[in-house]
């Protein structure tokens, strides 16, 4: 029963973090906040992978997955930050409501 509790708590916490991250991406208008939202959701996902490894006993595999996932996540954050920086140079702020040139 005790182990079940831990699993369920982690599952619920992880899902809440993913929903919070996605909500943050959808609802905020600031580029840096969007990056933070993505990071929050991805951190929850890495926690899920570790939990998966803990549940089925393949901890080594889970660790290698998590390391790779973290590397990818960092690269995505860097690319997004680069694009954000360029947007700041063009528009003077980081509001995504500026991005209305492509329509239809």
């Amino acid at each position: 029963m005790e182990i079940l509790d831990l699993k369920i708590i982690m599952l619920i916490a992880g899902l809440m973090m993913i929903v919070a991250g996605c909500y943050c991406i959808i609802r905020t208008y600031h580029m840096v906040k969007i990056i933070i939202g993505i990071e929050v959701a991805m951190k929850a996902v890495t926690m899920f992978i570790i939990m998966g490894g803990y549940m089925n006993g393949h901890m080594g595999l889970a660790q290698s997955y998590v390391v790779t996932a973290i590397v990818i996540e960092v690269i995505v954050a860097v690319v997004l930050a680069g694009v954000t920086m360029n947007l700041y140079k063009k528009y003077g702020n980081m509001d995504i409501r500026n991005l209305i040139q492509l329509k239809g």
Partner: protein
């Protein structure tokens, strides 16, 4: 080491080695001859995929397993696999990359080295996606493809490019979150993510609580790959990203990236989860929605590239419909449509590159009667349009025919009828495009317009020749494959 292994290893080794060699070269040389390196990789890819296809048919192999860098020792870097339809995808990658390089010679003036390096990582990523044998590696290569595309769109730092890149990036991040969550849930149940383990786990019949987890992860995976494909509820990024990028990069995105990142992943998904009926129903629904919505939205656009981008949404719908049958015929139809779509969509984007020389905005209302001034562009565009609309004897006809036949034989006559009816929309928006751009009298202000020369003209002629030749020879290719026992 036999010839089969050699061509199999070339797919990953050649682009990776080219990155190293290209960056060692002196800056002056690499700026001046950037197209030589990139075109060489594309041509090697085409040769290797054709020889792979031929050898696998001659040897009656349905799949070929190999270890990357076997020469370095037995441990290698993990085993890879080429299945019987993979060479078609690999060939499309080579062909579209070659077209992109030829267009880049005309359109890209600055940042040539960036272009070559990013193209090489893109090719590595796409080849990797096709060769890997487990879901996590598929995700890793998917991210490589995605990241190269984001940077390529934003590369020239125009306002539009940055906007398209941000839209694509944020949508793709949703896809990444969904894929990783689904993979974590599957990993919890199975303890491994290789295709064999996941497939056999589902065959064995899991407990009901486990089944719920699997269903949840399948929902996430389908939405994630639908985002990458640009299928209809998730299509909003596609026209923006494809319109805002440079033409040499739009060709890559529309011609091949959405097919490898989206459609190939969905093929993997349908092969793994073929036992779940809901997958097929979902794909069929998304497919029909994409065909109709994409075509209707394309009919009201005024930007040349945007019309073609919405046309991609519509054509992806046909591929998803073919996959939704779950039969071999449907799979063959989808793969054939991937090929024909790669060819005709690349032709149309090449035409966009040719028109861009004279029309900076690419607004079709500014054009008109260009048929007499740009005969090669007009002819190739009409052939590509006829292939898109599914008129015999071009490649698009045969692939659509296979998809409709697969739908009909798998007991889905309604879907088959809907797919046929929706072809009318395709003709509608393309006839509008042709009428506004190429037909009719030539306005006086356009009498200075000249036909494009050099590499763009060459690639237009080459791709038109491919459309016509493969279209005429298509029945023979099918009969040959049937005799070889491949299909």
């Amino acid at each position: 080491m036999n010839y089969l292994d050699l061509s199999a290893e070339a797919f990953l080794l050649v682009p990776l080695a080219t990155i190293i060699i290209y960056n060692i070269c002196p800056k002056k040389l690499s700026e001046k001859y950037f197209y030589v390196f990139a075109a060489a990789v594309a041509i090697i890819q085409i040769i290797a995929s054709v020889s792979m296809f031929y050898l696998m048919n001659v040897l009656h192999m349905r799949e070929h397993n190999f270890i990357f860098l076997k020469v370095l020792g037995k441990s290698g870097m993990g085993s890879l696999c080429i299945t019987y339809f993979s060479p078609v995808f690999l060939f499309c990658i080579g062909l579209v990359s070659f077209a992109s390089v030829m267009i880049a010679m005309h359109t890209i003036d600055a940042k040539k080295t960036h272009y070559v390096n990013l193209l090489m990582t893109l090719i590595t990523g796409m080849n990797g996606m096709i060769l890997v044998k487990d879901l996590f590696s598929l995700y890793v290569f998917l991210e490589i493809v995605g990241l190269s595309s984001f940077v390529m769109i934003a590369m020239f730092q125009s306002k539009k490019g940055l906007e398209g890149s941000v839209k694509y990036l944020v949508m793709s991040e949703f896809a990444s979150i969904f894929i990783l969550t689904a993979l974590a849930l599957i990993f919890m149940q199975t303890g491994s993510l290789s295709y064999d383990a996941v497939g056999s786990f589902l065959l064995d019949g899991a407990a009901s609580s486990q089944k719920m987890m699997i269903y949840f992860s399948v929902i996430l995976l389908i939405s994630a790959f639908a985002i990458k494909t640009g299928a209809v509820p998730f299509h909003s990024w596609l026209p923006d990203a494809h319109q805002s990028a440079d033409t040499a990069i739009s060709v890559l995105l529309s011609g091949i990236v959405i097919k490898i990142a989206g459609v190939y992943s969905l093929i993997v998904l349908t092969r793994l989860f073929s036992g779940i009926e809901a997958v097929h129903v979902t794909l069929a629904t998304i497919g029909i929605l994409s065909i109709v919505t994409g075509a209707l939205l394309a009919a009201k656009q005024n930007h040349f590239k945007r019309i073609i981008a919405y046309s991609s949404v519509s054509q992806m719908g046909y591929i998803l419909l073919g996959l939704s049958t779950g039969t071999t015929l449907g799979l063959i139809g989808s793969v054939a449509h991937v090929f024909s779509h790669a060819v005709f969509k690349t032709t149309l984007f090449t035409n966009a590159g040719a028109l861009h020389e004279h029309f900076e905005s690419l607004d079709i209302n500014e054009m008109g009667g260009l048929q007499s001034r740009m005969p090669v562009t007009a002819f190739s565009s009409i052939i590509a349009f006829l292939s898109t609309a599914g008129i015999p004897p071009f490649t698009g006809f045969w692939s659509k025919l296979l998809i409709v036949m697969a739908l009909w034989t798998s007991g889905n006559p309604v879907m088959a009828g809907a797919a046929l009816t929706a072809s009318i929309f395709t003709s509608a928006y393309f006839l509008r495009l042709q009428k506004k751009v190429f037909f009719g009298p030539l306005p006086d202000r356009l009498s200075e317009v000249k036909e494009v020369t050099g590499s763009i003209k060459f690639i237009e002629i080459l791709l038109t020749a491919v459309t016509i030749t493969v279209g005429v020879l298509f029945p023979m290719i099918l009969v040959y494959l049937q005799n070889a026992g491949t299909i």
